[in-house]
Amino acid sequence: MAEQGFMERPVYPVLFIIALSLVFVGILAAMYRMNEPGIEKQKLEAYEKSILSLCADSLASATGISTPEIMAAYPQSFADYIKPLPEGAYPRRAFEVKFGDRILAYVFDITGKGLWGTMRALIATTPAKDTIIGINVYEQLETPGLGARIEESWFTGQFEQKTVLDNGVPVDFELIPEGQSAAEPNQIRQVTGATITSKAVLTMLQNELRLILDVEAGK
């Protein structure tokens, strides 16, 4: 009966929930720790594949191996062609895409502020860094269905083969409605209902390009 008495005291529900929380938090922490290496490995793999896919077309035309074959040869193809540049070479993580001694492209890991949080993207440029080969937004916290659509290929695809430098100065892009088609090379179709996010992508591109170019100019 002593236990019965304790269970009826007002403090019992509080202690019960605290104890239950501790048990489950412990279980979750242990689960996460056990699987952390696996999750990290998967993340790294996705990241490296994303870099490879951005410059796979350039690699294909240089090597004569088809794009799908290069992708299928991961991780060997990544090790063969893509070399991380030493830290400090650029203010962002940078990778050099090389076939033999020929540099085919550079890939930069850029970051910027979105509407709800930090966005991270990979951007591949030509060796002269004046033209974008491809861009891939791999991490963002934008509104699902609206801003989050900046990840979609119709949006990122617009930047492919775009000249981003005009006499050493980053080009100003202009946003046009999603339904229109671009008449000028500097026009980008924005995501409907996500003007701030669309602008944020352009701002990120400009800021980060400037950062990279400053390094270039200082050399």
Binding site: M7, Y12, P13, F16, I17, L20, S21, F24, I27, L28, M31, Y32, N35, G38, I39, Q42, K43, E45, A46, P144
Partner: protein, 197 residues
């Protein structure tokens, strides 16, 4: 009620989706591919069965005033475990399912089964009930996904079934198709097995 009956009742006769009309959101959201539906159903069944078992094990010690907080805590923990496992072993599917795995927490079927069954019945029966309800839910997801993937992509589990002559119905890929497929499913089952309307 013996255990076989518990399973049959919660999986079919009192099916959470077509009889109790619970868990509709996720039934609409993840059913455009068979594989996603299957993984979602398995994750859901796992979380529900173990939540039922746990809730039932501690039912005599759970104060009435905080029972729902405790149930939510238990459900959330198991769902996070499912999420961690998917991220570690099936990252592609984890990415496609996106927020819906986490949203299992808010699925009414879980709370409903814990409150209606697990908090009043012995552990093993509750476990069976959880598996039953999970199987019933998975069955509905798979039936809807079967039609959506077949007509929307011409494939099943990613394997091409219909020939090149088939024109994909893009409505089947989008959410609205799940609305009328689910409605038709509920209608047919009610008409045939419950003799309603």
């Amino acid at each position: 009620m013996n255990r076989k009956e518990i399973f049959l009742v919660s999986a079919f006769r009192e099916n959470s989706v077509w009889k109790q009309v619970l868990g509709i959101c996720s039934a609409l959201a993840v059913t455009n591919l068979m594989l996603n539906s299957l993984i979602m159903g398995l994750g859901f069944t796992f979380a529900l069965a173990l939540s039922s078992l746990t809730t039932s094990l501690i039912r005599n010690y759970t104060p009435r005033s905080v029972r729902m907080i405790a149930q939510t805590l238990i459900i959330a923990s198991y769902v996070i475990i499912v999420d961690i496992l998917l991220k570690a072993y099936l990252p592609e599917i984890s990415k496609q399912l996106g927020p819906y795995v986490g949203l299992i927490i808010t699925n009414c079927i879980l709370m409903g089964r814990l409150e209606a069954f697990a908090s009043k019945n012995p552990p093993l029966d509750s476990f069976i009930d959880g598996i039953g309800a999970g199987a019933g839910y998975t069955l509905v997801l798979l039936v809807i996904a079967f039609f959506r993937e077949l007509f929307g992509f011409g494939s099943l589990f990613g394997i091409r079934i219909l020939g090149v002559w088939w024109t994909n119905w893009s409505i089947m890929v989008m959410a609205p198709s799940a609305f009328f497929l689910l409605a038709m499913l509920i209608w047919i089952i009610n008409k045939r097995y419950y003799k309603l309307g």
